[in-house]
């Protein structure tokens, strides 16, 4: 059994890698079928992230598919939890400086929800300051709109 498990482990690893575009498909499989399956996995992954990070997904609009694909090229395997995959995607977008405004808020909420800090202040635009509070019921937000661009205070 131990030996059978070892053999199956390497076969399953080779198959999963191939489906994520890493390495050659193991021999004996119908490659057209594997390509269809790989495409289906990629679609499911993209859709799951789009659904669990709706603001980020919507803000990226028509570019979502293309941008998500380049993220996947750097992170070939999904996270078990689509929401975590989306969290990683949002941070990746932030590092690339292409996280849209709506996505920044979605990411900020998550950071507050996860951090040990009960509340953070988050400047989302020059004229709007956002407060995020972590409460027992979840993260609550409110914003203060400034009548004056804070940058101009120092002019």
């Amino acid at each position: 059994m131990r030996e059978d498990r070892d053999i199956l482990a390497s076969e399953q690893a080779a198959l999963v890698s191939a489906l994520h575009g890493i390495g050659q498909p193991p021999s004996g499989f119908d490659t057209d079928h594997l390509n269809t399956a790989a495409d289906s996995l990629a679609r499911k992954r993209a859709r799951s992230v789009q659904k669990t990070w709706p603001a980020t997904g919507e803000a990226l609009g028509r570019n979502f598919g293309r941008i998500f694909q380049s993220y996947c090229a750097e992170h070939p395997a999904p996270d078990e939890n689509p929401f975590e995959d989306g969290y990683r995607f949002a941070m990746w977008l932030e590092r690339k400086r292409i996280l849209p405004q709506e996505g920044r808020l979605e990411l900020a909420r998550q950071r507050v929800a996860r951090s040990g800090v009960p509340r953070i202040l988050y400047q989302i635009t020059h004229r709007k300051i956002l407060f995020l509070f972590r409460t027992r019921e979840g993260v609550r937000t409110f914003h203060v709109r400034l009548s004056l661009n804070p940058a101009r205070l120092f002019e």
């Binding site: 059994m1 498990r5 199956l8 482990a9 076969e11 690893a13 198959l15 489906l19 289906s40 499911k44």
Partner: protein, 299 residues
């Protein structure tokens, strides 16, 4: 006289089926509970059960809507998607315990999982993948299922998946593989007719032949779902209405055996109340026909 004799045999066969099925509770009509559908589900009065995705429900924070259903007598079945019973590695006890925990808190009659693997080592596949149909893979699967059962206080039902490819070197048919795992582990069968239809369509099989080779007396409940055709392949997306073909296959199954319950799975592009209800009505009617037939047979 010959016709009457055949009928008697039929009735005896049905009774025998019922005897073997005594362990399976009657569930009736059901649906996969999703937050997006919660309101429509609460309003529907003829549901006997709902199925929840175990990974999406925290046992310590069960949604109020689910608890309300439970109080109204609707059964709740936790359905796992991450146990990876067909994986090369032994199962993660924490995942099985979560299923057990949900079942305990919701007083569930059973839990279910898949005949599939979802990860290899640390690498997640992102979906349910098929297993090699070899004796070696079957033994590992059986071993993992037994391990899971030891951690559960309620019966387990195993689901046949839809696959877009097959492993080379299969030593038995899909139906034999499924039959052997449920028989050798003495588990129920969660029969997904949409998956049966999809596999027949994509991998040149025959749905009816597949069904005929299954131990149908083990069916604990049935899944029905819609999908979409893309570039010549049918995808079981759970994001579209159930097709006529799949409803017909359900009706066919209900003629072959008396199933304890049947439910709709819908995961995306959620329909409005009217569409959802008419889909549930169509499923209920295929199911009710058989109920009527079996009452006549017994009378």
């Amino acid at each position: 006289v010959a016709a009457a004799g055949a009928e008697a045999v039929d009735a005896a066969g049905a009774e025998e089926d019922d005897m073997k099925r005594l362990n399976h509770p009657q569930l009736g009509l059901g649906i996969g509970w999703r937050p997006e559908l919660a309101l429509d589900i609460e309003r529907r009065r003829d549901l006997g059960f709902v199925e929840i995705v175990a990974e999406n429900i925290d046992p310590d924070a069960i949604p109020a809507s689910l608890l309300k259903l439970r109080e109204a007598g609707v059964q709740v079945i936790p359905h796992g998607i991450s146990l990876s019973l067909g994986g090369a590695e032994p199962i993660d006890p924490a995942r099985a315990r979560r299923l057990a925990d949900l079942a305990r808190r919701l007083d569930s009659p059973l839990v279910s999982e898949h005949i599939a693997f979802v990860r290899a080592g640390e690498m997640e596949a992102g979906h349910l993948l098929p297993l090699p149909r070899t004796n070696a893979a079957l033994r590992i699967l059986i071993d993992n299922v037994k391990m899971a059962r030891e951690l559960l206080d309620v019966p387990l039902a195993l689901e046949n998946i839809s696959a877009l490819f097959e492993w080379p070197g299969g030593e038995m048919s899909d139906a034999e593989f499924v039959s052997r795992v449920v028989e050798e582990t003495d588990t129920g069968l969660l029969l997904d007719v949409a998956n049966v239809w999809a596999n027949a369509r994509n991998l040149d099989g025959n749905s009816i032949v597949f069904l005929r080779h299954l131990p149908l007396e083990r069916v604990a409940y049935v899944h029905v779902a819609g999908g979409e055709e893309r570039d010549g392949t049918y995808h079981d997306t759970h994001a579209a209405p159930v097709s006529r073909d799949i409803l017909d296959l359900l009706a066919e199954l209900c003629q072959m055996t008396s199933i304890p319950g049947v439910m709709l799975e819908r995961d995306d592009h959620f329909p409005d109340s009217q569409q959802l209800n008419s889909e549930l009505d169509a499923i209920a009617s295929a199911f009710a026909q058989r109920q009527k037939r079996s009452v006549t047979a017994h009378a």
